[in-house]
Each structure stands twice: as structure tokens, then as C-alpha cells.
């Protein structure tokens, strides 16, 4: 083992040096605050990406090294078991991965300890960042698996890379890169278990010689196929989920809009097609009716889509990410800058005087709470405003009070910020929302206010709305009050709601303030474009895994195409059983074809049945895998021809 490790010394050193330099550069580019103080899940994703790419590449490189150097026979023909050779490689690789995580972090941590703001270093951050390195293990193992699974350039290459892609998509596509926010130990253990599983299957693949003219042994084929199909299934479902989501969005956009004509309780389907002389009113079959004129009528239309339900419906595609823990704000004390870190766990705010840092002196660090007593904020307290733009103000819903950070004798302190006439805080008033949510003259007024350099900060109280003037809250100026009232009025409009959950057929109803239905319409594909998109949605469904489709149909709760990537919204809620039947018929046909072909090639019945079941359960994906593994060449047996011996000369 030692000799094998010594042999790897040069490549190990190369990997260690390259990875450590890259990691160190990453740490340095992020800076002290982001690495050691802030609790930012994106940072972990950033480092996770590094581990994913670097470790995967190393797994692939080490797995293919003997082939690239053409030394596989030379290495294997010696009195050392394959297990020991494989084990030595894994030990070397794990050493590299540990070095990648440990060395740069330890050195950066040592430097951070000497930093003037060292007291700000979050407790346990070092181990959190170290644990983040666990991502590297399954990434490495996925790279090694890809190298061992197939050394031939065919369809198998796609599936060999599936675990690697699945890992990346799982971490970054599904934004699961902040595992320590919930159960860091469990996540780390899960990643280690995944790495162990992948390495086990890699070992199974490597312990068998790669021979294109022989079928894979069952001991190699089934574990590798199951891993590939599971990972490939995950990637495929995720990809098809995205495709379904895109098609769904296109279909949604291709359906007519619902508009209200002025303030009258009159609704209509319309299409804004300014390029072709629109807008147009449409009938219930989405056919174009009269063109009411470009300007006069258009001004009286109010798009219902902006009013809540439909807007929210579309925006579900991009749910906001939740963050917790430290938030930071520019204190905005004129030329003297500072930064504040609100810790939701402790209810305290850490303030850092930036001006002192920039002068080269150690920054003063303050941990402050409510008032002079520095009482902790309640667990529900949260900082107000937007990053970098407003001063530090904390709202504490416990007693509906606002606290503003000020400098009192050069010491930051939270002081209560009462509202005029004893009003109580209700919610922040987002002036951008005000600007975007209304039409006409009030909108222009808000835009003008927002265009000011100091970006005003407004809130809504129980009795009125208020604007921060730099020292206190004052009632909103009249023109903005009018705009806010307009927004309220807009919000009070009848709401349009999609009452069913189906990616193709949408049932829309509009209710007035008394909850009376004043308009309803069922959107179904009527025009060519809508039909094509609906057909594409149905077609994409056929590419999904049959087993997942069965589960989708069994689900009683309907949902949209994109809500759950693993379930097809076309089937959930026990809809379109015919689609599942068609899908299953297609999968069974594929499975049957696979069974017949394998039987013809001379495979044992158990193997034929195994593949037929796998293909039947996983459809196109399983079929691709089967065609990659069970090649005609592997099963080819030339006919035995009895030829006369051609020995011309033989001697004893």
C-alpha cells in the first residue's frame, strides 16, 4: 500500500497544490466578513461548487489515469490484489480531499484570528465550512464511478455521468447547499453514505475487466445499472420538470388575458398584440373579435393579472429563498459608515464601525439590543428595508415597535422611533411596489420621489403611512398618500383566481368584494399555438419514468406542471388516466422488445426478464441504459466452423 501511495505522490501533490491554491484564492476573494461572519448560504454553495467541480474532475482523472498512461496491464500484473490497488487510490484521493478542505481553511482561520474583527467570527463557522467539504466525497466518487462505468464512448457515457450531474443538480438546482441550516450532521452523514455507495459500485465495475466482446457479469451490471438509472432518473425528472415548467409558462402566456373594462363590472378576454394592430377582444373560443381601438379603449383596461392571484400564480416559478441568521445593513451615518449584523438567534445586533477599519485601527465592535439596556429583540424581530439602502431599523412585532440605530456619543444605540400621533407600525411600505402597482399620474409622482438620491424609506401604520425624513417618521406627503390610496384601491379590485390545478385546462373565476362570481372562464387549448404547446406538454410526459407516472396518477392532490419535479402535474389528482395507459403501453412495448432481442442474442432468461422489468419501469431512460450495456457485440458468437487443421509443420 505504501509503495502504491508513493507511486501516487506526484499526482497527489499536484492535486493537493492545485486545489489548495484554488480554495485559498476563493477564500481570499470572498473576504473575512463573508467567510467568517455572515451567515450566507450562497457562500456555501459557492464553495460547494468548487468541491463539486474539482473533486469530480479528480475522480475522473484518477479513474482513467491507467488508461491514459496505458499502464493498466503493467500495474495489475503484480502480486497485489485489485482491492489493495483500488484501496490505495481511494486513500490517496481522500487525503487530497481532506487537504483541500483543511489546509486553506486552517490557514485562513489563523489569519482571521489575527484580524481586528476577530471577535465577530461566528461560533462553529470553521467546522461548518469544514463540513461543507463533505460535498467533495460524493463528487469524487461520482467522478470515479463515471470513469469505471464505461471506458467506451457510447450512450453509456451519458448515464455514467448521471450520478455526478444528479449531485450537482441536487445541490445547486434544488438549492440544497445550505445543509447546516437544518441538520448538518445528518447531511454530512448522508453525503458520506452516498460516497460509500458510489465507491462500492465503482469497485464492482473496476474488479471486472472491460471487454466489449463479453456481456457484463450480473454482479457488475445490476448495481451499476441501478445506480445509473436512479441518478439518471433524478436528472431526467428534474430536467423534464424544467421543460414542463417552461412549456407551462408558454401555454399560460399564450392564453388570452383577462381584463376589466374601466371601473365597470365588465370583464373580457383580450390579447395585446400591438404589432398587429391590437389590442383585440376575444370570444370564449379565443377567436379575435372587434378591435376596440388602440388607445381609447386600452386606457380603460386594467389587467387583472397584475392584481394578485394570477401574478402570484406565475411567480411561483421563482420562490424566494429563505435565509436566516445574520442580516447586515449599512448604517448610513453620513461619512461614517458602519455595518450591522442582526442575529435572529440571539436577538442582538452586532455593529462594526467601518470608519475605524478603513483608518487602519481595529474596528470597535458593539453588541447592542433595544434601548440603553440592550434588551434582546424578540424572536420574531426582523430588520427593515433593503440591503445597502436604508439605515438600520428593526421592527419588533412583540409590541409593534420600531427601533432605529443612531450614534449617541459616538456609540451606536437602538432608540425607539415612535410614529406620529401614537400610531403603531403595521408593515413596510415598499415605494417600488407603489410605483409598479398603480397606473397614471400617481405612478409618475412616486417614480419622481424614488428618483431622489437618498432613496426614501416608508412604512404603513395602522392609521396612515409614513416616510423617514432622516431623523423621524413623518406622514406621507399628500401626493404619495394619494398613490398609496390608489394602490389600496387597486388591491381591493375583484380578484381573479384559478380554481383548479391543471397545467393545461385552467378554470378562472372572478369574485367581487361580496364573493359573488362575476366572471368565469375555462381556458382550454383552442388556437394552433395553444394546441401545439399542450401537445408538447403531453409529449414530454411520455419521456418521464413510468413508475413515477403511476405514483403521480395515484396522488389525489392535483398540482401544476412545475410544482413538484418528480410528479407530473398532468396526472395528479387522478386526471388523464388515458395518458398513463398510453405511457405504460409504450414502456411495456419497449420492455417486450428488449426481452425479445436479448433472448435472440442468447442471454439467459433471468437477465432478459430483469432488463424487461427495468425498461418497463423506467421507460426511455432504462432503454438507453439497456442498449448501452447489452450490445450486440457483447453477445455476438461467431458460428463454430469445423475446419481441417492447417498445421503445416510440427515437431516433438
Amino acid at each position: 500500500m505504501k509503495a502504491l501511495l508513493r507511486r501516487d505522490w506526484a499526482s497527489v501533490s499536484f492535486f493537493v497544490a492545485t486545489g489548495c491554491v484554488a480554495h485559498t484564492v476563493l477564500l481570499a476573494s470572498e473576504g473575512f466578513d463573508r467567510v467568517w461572519v455572515e451567515r450566507d448560504s450562497e457562500l456555501f454553495g459557492y464553495f460547494g461548487l468548487f468541491y463539486w467541480i474539482a473533486a469530480g474532475a479528480m475522480g475522473l482523472a484518477l479513474g482513467l489515469r491507467e488508461d491514459a498512461l496505458q499502464t493498466r496491464d503493467y500495474l495489475l500484473h503484480r502480486p497485489i490484489s485489485h482491492a489493495r490497488i483500488f484501496g490505495a487510490r481511494q486513500v490517496a484521493a481522500i487525503g487530497v480531499l481532506v487537504a483541500w478542505a483543511l489546509l486553506p481553511l486552517a490557514s485562513d482561520y489563523a489569519l482571521a484570528a489575527l484580524h481586528p474583527n476577530a471577535p465577530l467570527i461566528a461560533e462553529g463557522r470553521f467546522f461548518d465550512l469544514l463540513a461543507n467539504g463533505a460535498v467533495a466525497l460524493p463528487s469524487y466518487a461520482a467522478g470515479a464511478f463515471a470513469a469505471a462505468f464505461t471506458r467506451r464512448a457510447n450512450v453509456l457515457l451519458l448515464l455514467a455521468g448521471a450520478p455526478y450531474a444528479a449531485l450537482g443538480l441536487g445541490m445547486f438546482g434544488l438549492r440544497r447547499v445550505d445543509p447546516w441550516a437544518t441538520h448538518p450532521a445528518m447531511t454530512t452523514l448522508g453525503l458520506l453514505a452516498l460516497a460509500a455507495l458510489l465507491l462500492l459500485v465503482t469497485w464492482r465495475c473496476e474488479s471486472e475487466r472491460d471487454d466489449a466482446d463479453r456481456p457484463w457479469s450480473a454482479a457488475r451490471a445490476w448495481p451499476a445499472a441501478l445506480v445509473a438509472v436512479a441518478a439518471g432518473g433524478f436528472v431526467a425528472l428534474l430536467g423534464l420538470g424544467e421543460l414542463g415548467s417552461t412549456l407551462d409558462q408558454f401555454l399560460t402566456r399564450s392564453y388570452p388575458r383577462l381584463v376589466r373594462i374601466g371601473d365597470e363590472p365588465r370583464f373580457a378576454l383580450a390579447e395585446y398584440d400591438a404589432d398587429r394592430g391590437g389590442p383585440w377582444l376575444l370570444d370564449r373560443q379565443h377567436r379575435r373579435g372587434p378591435n376596440p381601438g388602440r388607445d381609447a379603449e386600452r386606457r380603460r383596461w386594467v389587467s387583472i393579472e397584475r392584481d394578485g392571484a394570477l401574478k402570484a400564480w406565475w411567480n411561483e416559478h421563482s420562490k424566494p429563498r429563505r435565509t436566516r441568521g445574520v442580516a447586515w445593513r449599512d448604517l448610513g451615518w453620513g461619512v461614517e459608515f458602519g455595518r450591522a449584523f442582526f442575529n435572529a438567534d440571539t436577538g442582538m445586533v452586532t455593529v462594526l464601525r467601518e470608519a475605524e477599519r478603513s483608518s487602519g485601527r481595529p474596528a470597535q465592535v458593539y453588541r447592542i439590543g433595544r434601548g440603553a439596556e440592550h434588551a434582546a429583540f424578540s424572536a420574531r424581530a426582523f430588520p427593515l428595508g433593503r440591503r445597502w439602502e436604508e439605515g438600520v431599523t428593526v421592527m419588533d412585532p412583540k409590541d409593534a415597535t420600531l427601533w432605529r440605530c443612531v450614534l449617541a456619543d459616538s456609540v451606536p444605540q437602538f432608540v425607539p422611533s415612535p410614529l406620529p400621533d401614537g400610531d403603531r407600525y403595521r408593515e413596510p411600505l415598499d415605494l417600488r411596489e407603489l410605483r409598479d402597482g398603480i397606473d397614471g399620474e400617481p405612478r409618475a409622482l412616486v417614480a419622481a420621489v424614488l428618483a431622489r438620491g437618498d432613496t426614501p424609506f416608508a412604512i404603513r401604520g395602522e392609521r396612515g403611512s409614513y416616510l423617514w425624513n432622516g431623523t423621524e417618521f413623518e406622514p406621507l406627503p399628500a401626493r404619495l398618500r394619494a398613490a398609496a390610496a390608489e394602490l389600496e384601491r387597486t388591491r381591493a379590485r375583484p380578484t381573479a383566481t384559478i380554481t383548479n390545478r391543471d397545467p393545461i385546462v385552467r378554470e378562472l373565476e372572478v369574485r367581487d368584494a361580496q364573493a359573488v362570481v362575476v366572471f368565469e372562464h375555462t381556458f382550454t387549448p383552442q388556437r394552433l399555438g395553444e394546441r401545439v404547446l399542450a401537445a408538447a406538454l403531453l409529449g414530454h410526459s411520455l419521456l418521464r419514468l413510468p413508475v413515477a407516472q403511476v405514483a403521480a396518477l395515484a396522488s389525489a392532490t392535483p398540482h401544476m406542471a412545475y410544482e413538484y419535479w418528480w410528479r407530473d402535474g398532468l396526472l395528479t389528482g387522478r386526471k388523464r388516466a388515458w395518458l398513463l395507459v398510453a405511457h405504460l403501453a409504450f414502456a411495456v412495448a419497449l420492455g417486450w422488445r428488449c426481452y425479445r432481442r436479448l433472448l435472440r442474442l442468447g442471454a439467459p432468461v433471468s437477465r432478459c426478464l430483469g432488463w424487461a422489468v427495468l425498461v418497463g419501469a423506467t421507460g426511455v431512460l432504462g432503454w438507453m441504459l439497456y442498449r448501452g450495456v447489452e450490445t450486440r457485440r457483447a453477445w455476438h458468437r461467431p458460428p463454430v466452423v469445423q475446419e481441417p487443421p492447417r498445421l503445416l509443420l510440427r515437431s516433438a
Binding site: 506526484a10 496491464d73 503493467y74 495489475l76 500484473h77 502480486p79 471487454d211 461467431p638 475446419e643
Partner: protein, 311 residues
Amino acid sequence: MTTGEPAVAFRDVYRHFGEHEVLRGLSFAVRRGEIHALLGRNGCGKTTALRVLLGFLSPHRGRSEILGVGSDALTPADRGRVGYVTEGHQLYPGMRVREVLSFEAATRPRFRLDLAERAVQRCALPRQTPVIKLSRGQRAQLSLIVAVAAQPEVLVCDDPAMGLDVVMRRELLDVMIELLSERGISVLFSSHILTDVERIADRVSILHEGRLIVDAAVDDLKQRVRKRSWRPSNGATAPPSLPGLLRARRTGEGYDLTLVSDELDDGALRQLGGVLGEPVVPTLEDLFLDVTTNPADGGILSRATDAEVSA
């Protein structure tokens, strides 16, 4: 392995790559202590046969054995008894010569480091030079040294002199002879260089299109095979039909006949009539050309590769 059991045995081995049948019923054996050359044109299946023997490829039919152990069941301990010089002299390119020796010493319990060091010195191989910077000949010598220093009972060499010029080949051969002398190692090696084979091999097997066509001791070949020219008197153009005739190659007005002398019937020869030349002992190269080429092909070079021509 029991006494008398061959060191290496192929028993009716078949192997194909896709539609192409490379080995077709290969059967021969290498006795203990014997130096056995496996000859054949490019693509005739020599490397495939050796890789099957070492268990790196499995045969589609038949069985091969080395030291009495089936090739498909070689344990690491069995591999320790078999030396292997791979085609192209595989070594880790980044390792220095001394690192190659220590790597081999650490991974092969029977490896004689002193012997290897002496051989390296004898061949004047630069110990601090990485393998990638060695010449082809030096790499070939190093490969051979590490294979022999592991004290194998059987040494398998896949074209060890491939790509070497005459001087290097001769040096390699000298090293081989020196290392193998008085060690009693059984050697199976493939080669294109027939003069070398003639110098060191006890026995040759010639593979042609996946089939074994000659399996004989070198001395036996020299004693039994003769070449004679024949010019028919009656202007006949058809090749003669004789017992013991290996090949009849058309030459101008007559034929060059390759004959196995102990099967030759003098009476039959006399009945041919015409002018019969004096018997000549053919070189191994002549014999090889006779048995591996079809006169109708128009000559040996018609199907040979560049590598073969340069060799």
C-alpha cells in the same frame, strides 16, 4: 505445477473482436526452461494470445494455463511467478529509473533489487532520469530488467524489440540472454525479428490468421526443412504435387520448393523431371515468408505494415 507439466499451455483457444476472429483454435505448449517464440504477421493474434494467457482477456472458447493455473483464475501470488514485458514497454512515465526499481521491489516480494541495480549499471541506464526521457531501447531494457529481476518462473514478453533499431535490438538481446542464462526461466515471447528469434529461441510457433501453422523446435526446422529450385522440362506451369511440400513459389520459368525432408520421397522428386537444384537450408525468415504468405498475393510487402517493413 507437477514435473513435466508445461509452463504455458493453450488448448483450443478462440477469441474474436466483434466480427473479426483473431484466435481460431490455438493450441500449443511451452515446456519448462524453454525459450519459445511466437511469430506471426501484424494482426495475426500474438498480443491477443499473450493477453489471454495472462488473464487480461478471456477466451470465447478453450482454455489457457500458465504454471498449471487457468488464466482466468490467476491469483496475485500466481502473478508473482510470472514476468511480463508489455507491448510498448509500459512503465510509469513520470517515475525515475531508481523509483521504478524501488516501486517494483516494494510490490514484488521476489524482486532482486541487487540484480536489477547491477543490470541497470551494466546497461548504463541513467538512474535519475524519468522514464519518459529514456530512449525506446533504454525503456525496453528497463522493462526487461524489472521483469527478470522479479525472478519469475515464466517470462512473457510481447514483442520486446518492437520499434528498436538494429544496435538497440542487439543490446536488448544481449541483456536478455545474460539475464536468462542459467536461470531456467521459461520464456514465451512474440517477435517480428526472425534473426533474433533464431539466435535465442528453442522453439517457434507461427500464427497465421489466428491459426497455428508451425509449432517446431528451431533445430528441428533446420534439420528437416530444405529449399530447392525446380524448373520443369515439359513447360508445365502448375505447381508440383509432392508429399512434404510446404510451399511452391513461382519464380520465372520454375518454382522454389520448400520441402520437409523427412517426409520427402526421393522417388517422387525424381519423377518430377526437369532440373532440380541443390537442397539449401532455409533461414527462419525464408520459412516464415513461405508459410505466412500466399504466392498469389504478389509478395510479402503487399500486406505488410510500415512497422513490419522497418523491423
